[in-house]
Assembly symmetry: C2
Homo-oligomer: 156 residues x 2
């Protein structure tokens, strides 16, 4: 015999929950944002992955090993290898074998990448601002805080 609660849930499918709704909301919102960002970057012949690698390297301000970059992108090693190859071909990074540990290859931005990133700053900033223009700063800070808790919980 179905409970009243179960009957109520049936309206939105069995076993629905606020956790499920939140997860779907995050995935849908993120997809939309990714699409918009990718569309802007395409005008500069960059993919989102490529841009992220460049952004991380600039954020760090010094050369980084490949897998260090992968970690910060929640990406898997083979994907980084490919992106690094692409960026090398575009002469946006250099890759040098570390003297200390010859397994490690360190990645560094070229001057050309610095210029490209500089040219991208304003358009990217504007896009971010415009995409989230109808969300208050206070809400954005709340959002960031809650999402931090989400990620902390996922990684155990």
């Amino acid at each position: 015999m179905a409970s009243a609660l179960q009957n109520e849930l049936k309206k939105r499918g069995p076993f629905d929950s606020v956790q499920q709704e939140a997860t779907l909301a995050m995935m849908r919102s993120s997809d939309l944002l990714e699409n918009r960002l990718a569309r802007l970057l395409r005008e500069y012949s960059l993919t989102l992955s490529q841009y992220n690698v460049l952004r991380i390297l600039r954020g760090e301000g010094k050369p980084l090993p490949c897998l260090e970059v992968a970690d910060r992108m929640i990406q898997v090693a083979p994907a980084i290898t490919r992106v690094v190859d692409q960026l090398l071909a575009l002469k946006l990074i250099t890759k040098t074998q570390s003297a200390n540990d010859r397994r490690v290859f360190e990645i560094e931005l070229t001057a050309s990448a610095d210029r490209l990133l500089k040219a991208l700053d304003k358009p990217i900033l504007d896009l971010h601002a415009s995409l989230l223009s109808n969300v208050s700063k206070a809400d954005l800070k709340t959002l960031i805080r809650i999402l931090e808790a989400v990620r902390a919980g996922i990684r155990e």
Copy 2:
């Protein structure tokens, strides 16, 4: 001459903003959640896309045209065509040409899909609950509310 504000921003790279931080937070959180869900679904030989199609069809409770399903997934038409083909091969859906409009193909769950979804309900519910277990219900509701505003703003 650099302003005090610019100097301050330099700490985290030029032109950083709360909007940018929020966007990155959403994308990273969503990626983590997607990975976990995909991992669970793989045990049932389903991809996240396939599961989403099934879930949407069950939620609707009646047959839906292909592109109607695509809309709700923020997916592009060709991707749906492929997923539909896969689900057809797995005998989890049926596809019938509409009599009213012969351009339209309506998709419907099979009894086998109903059983599969039923078997998945509990594990999926548990996973969602566990992934977000350290976020309070109140925060989840706030999260959902803010994300709705985010999406409303993106679609104009």
